[in-house]
Symmetry: C2
């Protein structure tokens, strides 16, 4: 009840039109006494979801936290319906390339009845196929999930590629875990090309348009929503500096360095740094050309500082985690590098359960 | 006495050849009772200085902490002598380009008698001349120090340049603050050229060989050495990604972007990131060509992980500050990015006094 009270006071404080908090507090107190939990009003749910975003210390994209579209699907409990609504989420969020921040909230945990959960880290993830030598085709980060869903009966395409869509693995208390393919046609993807380097398309790289995290629990006023996928749009470095560049992901820098004709015999030639710039240019250029919303780390850093200022003006502290906010490339070129942040922990929030599968 | 005891126990534990700690403890206890402080043996001083380096959570270069040369100049108290020994420090450290880690320890604080201190952040720093419009020629970071020493009677060269050496400002209790020029001939400098871009030399950029921090207090076993300049060699990014690139330092990226013919009309072309790579290549290339020791951020990150492993093997924790250890460019390309660190605070240590002048 402590967390419920804290949340309801916050809701009524920031939403004066909702009237005084006391009547609502006594209602919720009674409901908890009776059922062991309580139901959020749609307004409370929407507010809680937006504030959970506002409180995400690792997120640089919070300037637009008020703009989140919240889909209230708390009545949806069966795996097949959840999967279908995740597909609908992707459709709404993709919006033909003009990506919209959306969150879909499925049934919460209740006493004796855990809510559904989604195993996939994001709604769209690419399979990683491990061969006998430990090499991986596709995304090595999801080799474990690929193994797990294969075990559960998933059949990869006969023609395997580095960008095969993994099925959604949805777990409910009454059905166990079930798999559902994500239809290709709802997954907008962008083939990567470089503004100046024609050979870049020979790499046959691509990435999907919408980053929709699906394995974080949304926690609002003591109520826990284990399945509440949400998406923003991409910041280029997530794709170009991490997904495609990390040595334990697609690890593309050696090949790009080679094709650029760089001297890769010594780290001191900074060939990696140079290749990193080019792949990130390709990402930003390709998304823009394809009409898919994306942001670069310079612009987004500026926006984030604007956000902090706005929050301060509103009398709120803005918690931020330096090591996540500072972009993974050209850190000191961005203004977010040159300062410290509040680090206190605020609720509502998104929580990554330690046992969340990848 | 608590800190003294903690330090002496550490010294005897890591240096068994020094014998049992108890006799030394009672001697120091007696000395403190009598004088309010105590004298480190030369071995204790050397060990304390090296361990202060080992404990520097922000330093990526700690693999070679045992190799520090410690100059015991605790008897030196007069400003002129201190300045002369700083010059000698530079000579020894520069070593014709094969840079050696050196620390020079001057008189400690004693009850009623504060030790000397050096105002300059480093022994070699370039003046920053502010004009009436607020523009700065030289290093804007030291515009304040430049004003201060000018106030104290320093005369800049008649022909001002962006790389004029600031005088040392040495403060002692009995003399106040006094200024001493740093002779040009002990300051090895490297003119910057680029391996592929001939026009780079037209920028007339240069930097000095030896980074020698001179405004941090060395604190060993309760004894405080306010003047104890120390140096390592440069990691290229300190010069190329910070000193010459930061918007509030030499801010060279716009000009380099222009000369590279990059499209600077939008951040999304990543022209800043590209220019950053080229200036850093120039730094590493120029130092190497000039025979001056330097390291790149990839190599140094690997070394640092080796250092952590060695420390763990020795049964010690290695405190590290993620936001300082991860290089200011291409963060996620370096292995130090992809992990967390111990953050506890260990003694002996270097301390930056809040009122240290720049
Ligand atoms: C609108 C555009 C958005 C942008 C550009 C953006 C950007 C980012 C970036 C760059 C990260 C770091 C990702 C990483 O390094 O793995 C991040 C993390 C995060 N963002 Fe956002 N974001 C956006 C929207 C959202 C939305 C709509 C939500 C929730 C409603 C959200 C919640 C989070 C959370 C919880 C994390 C931390 C994830 C984790 O711990 O793994 N973001 N965001
Ligand atoms: C031998 C080569 C060395 C390398 C490559 C190295 C590298 C670095 C780097 C890159 C930084 C961060 C600087 C910044 O971002 O401003 C740093 C900080 C630091 N280093 Fe080292 N270092 C070396 C030697 C030393 C030595 C000999 C000492 C002391 C005996 C030392 C003590 C420190 C301390 C105290 C800091 C933090 C400075 C501050 O708080 O401003 N380092 N080092």
């Amino acid at each position: 009840m402590d967390e419920a009270e804290e949340f309801l006071r916050l809701f009524h404080e920031e939403n004066p039109q909702a009237g005084p908090v006391e009547p609502r507090l006594s209602a919720v107190r009674a409901e908890i006494a009776l059922r062991g939990t309580y139901l959020h009003t749609p307004d409370e749910l929407g507010f809680g979801a937006r504030v959970a975003w506002r409180n995400s210390a690792r997120c640089i994209g919070r300037l637009y936290w008020r703009s989140l579209t919240v889909r209230d699907l708390r009545h949806v409990r069966d795996a097949a319906d959840i999967a279908a609504e995740c597909v609908e989420h992707l459709r709404l969020a993709t919006n033909a390339g003009r990506v919209r921040p959306v969150m879909t909230v499925f049934a919460p945990d209740a006493p004796e009845q855990p809510g559904p959960c989604i195993w996939n880290e994001q709604l769209v993830r690419y399979a990683g196929y491990r061969d006998a030598f430990g090499n991986v085709v596709g995304d090595p980060r999801y080799a474990g999930l690929t193994d797990a869903v294969t075990e559960l009966g998933w059949r990869p395409p006969t023609q395997r590629s580095p960008f095969d869509l993994l099925p959604l693995a949805v777990e409910t208390a009454h059905e166990g875990v079930r798999l559902f393919p994500v239809p290709r046609d709802v997954v907008m993807e962008v083939p990567l090309e470089h503004p100046d380097l024609p050979w870049f398309t020979d790499l046959s790289l691509r990435w999907h348009a919408v980053p929709a995290i699906s394995n974080m629990r949304l926690s609002i006023g003591g109520v826990s929503y284990p399945a509440a996928p949400f998406n923003g749009w991409y910041m280029g470095t997530e794709i170009g500096a991490r997904n495609l560049a990390d040595a334990d992901r697609y690890d593309m820098l050696p090949e790009i360095g080679e094709r650029l004709g760089l001297d890769t015999s010594s780290e001191a030639t900074l060939w990696r740094d140079r290749a990193l710039v080019e792949i990130n240019r390709a990402v930003l250029h390709s998304y823009a050309s394809a009409g898919v919303t994306i942001t670069d780390h310079h612009t987004e850093s500026e926006r984030f500082l604007t956000h902090i200022q706005k929050e301060e003006k509103a009398g709120r502290q803005c918690p931020a985690d330096w090591s996540w906010i500072v972009p993974p490339m050209s850190g000191s070129l961005t203004p977010v590098f040159h300062r410290y942040y509040e680090t206190q922990h605020l609720r509502p929030e998104f929580v990554l359960d330690p046992d969340a599968a990848q």
